[in-house]
Subunit: 108 residues, 2 copies
Amino acid sequence: MATGTSHRAAPEHTHPDDVPVLTALAALADPVRVQLVRELAASEDWSRSCGTFDVPVGKAAKSHHFAVLRAAGLVEQRDEGPRRVNRLRREEFDARFPGLLELVLRGD
Amino acid sequence: MATGTSHRAAPEHTHPDDVPVLTALAALADPVRVQLVRELAASEDWSRSCGTFDVPVGKAAKSHHFAVLRAAGLVEQRDEGPRRVNRLRREEFDARFPGLLELVLRGD
DNA sequence: GCGAGTGTTCGATGAAAACCATACAGTCAC
DNA sequence: GTGACTGTATGGTTTTCATCGAACACTCGC
């Protein structure tokens, strides 16, 4: 086998270009996911693993929310040893849905 | 009693400025409501009563959806005789959530 | 007043989604 | 290998929301 050996299934990603508007809106219409996105936006790319996010739900639910964000083209994930680190797809998502991310990050 | 007599309760409106982001996103994360907003955007202000929108739900559900849109600051309503006519709050909503409405109207 | 037309409210139902606890699958250090 | 750690998958509960049918309220023309 080649180098970079990982026997774990790579997470499935969806590019923002392939995401319907309704999917993007539904993904962002949840307080927990918005909090994840905001924390992620305030961090360096690939600096945060899923477990480091402080949201008031169990880890199973957290994992589910990350899957939703991935499917909405908002988050990219990569395996780094035992943990899965994240990156907010700022530019790609912004190119597809101009202003939307900024709106969510701005807050109230 | 003064002129313009209406014994019907005026619909409660919420100004976009008082709408949380999550409420706005949740309101627009529904296919029926998006269709209503799009049809409304393609019509003149105050030209369409609730019944004239062609969505695949009964009138009870339709009434509910209009209430949600009102609460999200997206729609303004006024009673005109027996019917309730609508207006999309384009500028006010756009001032509060720049780009969001345009995003939804653009479609996919 | 009466009847037709329009829209809201109420109660109930069904579907979707969030959530948890548990069990499982990798990765790493030892 | 064993054990600690991290995240995913599964099964089941709870909550939320869209929907409908029926009843109600209001307006208007007759």
